[in-house]
């Protein structure tokens, strides 16, 4: 009985290790929250004292500026939040196209680097080292200069078969569209007239430069990730696969890929996040991404803190979203350990 009491005393509520752990965590959390609240209120108070107006109400005011390219119709009399939306869509457009492109290219080069063909290995090596080691901003500027400085002007574009046009105004190509009147797929071909191109799809040099630049830069990293994944699969596994008579394709599909994937996906996620975040460099070459639009909004309204907070929140959401998707993908691809 006495022994029981003693035990009870020693591990009463305050003395339990579990409780104390929780309390420390709670105190730390409250401390952080208090610090955050103080930072916020102090900033606001100081801004008020200096007569700097603050708040997110400006998002509903007329933007009053045009945006060069937009996936949704945008007019300068629409509110700022729509302008931010246009910027976000432009950022997503670069990110999605870039991610798809860099994955394909990166996989090809990564596979090339472990190939038995010396030429493929050498080219892959040269490519990776070149694109990995030149700063990405510089690469973007190089692409932009290539696309703008060295292309013919729109009066005399490079054209191929009257289907593809390339000039200082960008790249135009045909797309298949569904024509309801004839119930068939027809090609919507670009029409060139006196320097203007109508119909088809036209991509601006800004979009091309940012997408190509980021894709090539990131694909070098993806190639390394893929190579690491392939090399990580023990030789014995492949030899075992051969010895039981699996074909090359079966070996790759059933033995190599499942094991390589679990090494590849987590660092690949990182590269996708990097690409998305690097897309903010678009502002340097005049592509109207989220940062560019937000810069303009910041300057028209003077709401620096708000605009930067918005950008941070959006990139945070994009990154967390990408991570969540890739984690789900990883779970599906991961080998169930038995």
């Amino acid at each position: 009985m006495a022994g029981f009491l003693f035990w009870d005393m020693k591990t009463s509520f305050w003395h339990q290790r579990q409780t104390r752990r929780w309390l420390y965590q709670l105190a730390l959390m409250l401390g952080l929250l208090a610090l955050l609240a103080w930072l916020l209120s102090n900033t606001l108070a100081n801004m008020k004292a200096r007569g700097i107006q603050s708040g997110f109400d400006f998002l509903w005011a007329n933007a009053g500026f045009d945006i060069g390219e937009s996936m949704i119709a945008f007019d300068s009399s629409e509110p700022y939040w729509r302008a931010f939306g246009v910027g976000l869509l432009n950022t997503l457009r670069v990110s999605v196209v870039g991610i798809v492109f860099c994955s394909i290219l990166g996989t090809m080069i990564g596979v090339g680097r472990v190939s038995h063909n010396a030429l493929a290995r050498g080219l892959g090596y040269a490519y990776t080292e070149l694109f990995r080691n030149v700063p990405v901003l510089l690469q973007l500027l190089i692409w932009y200069v290539l696309l703008v400085e060295f292309m013919p002007d729109s009066q005399s574009p490079l054209h191929f078969n009257d289907w593809f046009y390339l000039s200082k105004n960008g790249f135009s190509f045909p797309v298949p569209v569904w024509e309801s009147s004839s119930n068939s797929l027809v090609w919507d071909v670009p029409l060139w007239f006196d320097g203007e191109i109508s119909q088809g799809i036209s991509l601006t040099p800004e979009f091309l430069a940012i997408t190509l630049g980021l894709s090539f830069y990131t694909s070098a990293f993806v190639a390394e990730v893929v190579r690491a994944g392939i090399v990580s699969v023990p030789r014995g596994q492949l030899e075992a696969a051969k010895s039981i008579g699996l074909s090359n394709w079966q070996t790759t599909r059933q033995v190599l890929l499942p094991q390589a994937m679990r090494v590849i996906i987590p660092p690949l996620t990182n590269q996708y996040l990097n690409l998305t975040k690097n897309s903010s460099l678009a502002v340097a070459i005049g592509y109207p991404d989220l940062v560019s639009i937000s810069n303009t909004a910041l300057n028209q309204t003077g709401r620096a803190v708000e605009c930067i907070a918005l950008i941070m929140a959006v990139y945070l959401c994009l990154s967390l979203g990408t991570s969540a998707l890739m984690n789900a993908f990883n779970q599906r691809m991961a080998i169930r350990e038995r």
Binding site: N46, D66, L141, Y144, L281, Q300
Partner: protein, 346 residues
Amino acid sequence: MKNSPIKAALGGAAAIGFTLLFSASAWAGKTLDTIKQRDQMVCGVNTGLAGFGAADSQGKWTGLDVDVCRAVAAAVLGSGDKVRYVPLSAPQRFTALQSGEIDMLSRNTTFTLTRDASLGLHQTAVTFYDGQGFMVPVKGGIKSAKQLKNATVCVQSGTTTEKNLTDFSKANNLAIKPVVFEKLEAANAAYFAGRCKAYTTDASGLASIRSKEAKDPKEHAILPELISKEPLGPLVRRGDDEWFAIVKWVIYGLVEAEEYGITAANIEKLKAESTDPVVMRLLGKSDDTGKLLGLDREWLVRAITTSGNYGEIFERNVGEKTPLALKRGPNAQWAKGGLQYAPPIR
């Protein structure tokens, strides 16, 4: 690239954040006292706009905006060389001033209601009356801005220019497509590479860019239309009215000096010999106007000796003998049909 765009944006945010956080008590202090204490004035200028604010290969800053900084520094500290220049991109400039990083912003900045009323800043006096114009390659054959239908136009972000362009495009049904760059240098490069049909900014800026950046300035024409009013001048922070008054009156002093024929060259002679009551007052021989501003008697003498009067500053930096070759136009003295009209220094 000295500053990446994100760095600039985040730098701006960090600057405002940190200074707002940690300088609460320092805020109430007088800018003048701080400047005197560190014996240096900090002036925000353009990253490189020939004629207004640009550094040469030796790092020496020149330009109309720079000369205004020098004149203020001379009035306050006794020497026009006691200035540290902080080159600022358009999106950075207001944050730098709000956060106290600079004492005054002299960076071809347009005065508008929004900027005056919501940024916690004061607009001092207009040092240059400007208007937004367009520059086009001569070979394109465009003679009027109204011909810019569906045209791509290169423009720098963070300026009043973007909105003016949109207003003009809308009013004339032109559907102009802006290509917006954060850096002036990037916008210039894109235009001269042929990305855009036209380039738009303040007419003075166009002249500056054409003279400095074009391979052959004759290949580019500035169109006759001015689509906006752009009164440019220095800004200071709100909350320090004395400093506001000093900057404002140094500029007025330079303008009035031109009106009464006081130049850097003849100022000593006039000081010794002039009997004109206005000149005597300007040069501190009769009334002590400096005392009211918290300065000494000779404040304006030093400002004029350092930078010359307003007319001299104009001619030296942007006038007809410079590569910019701008006429006085609206920047002439009021008595000569211009807009430069200084309230009396008395």
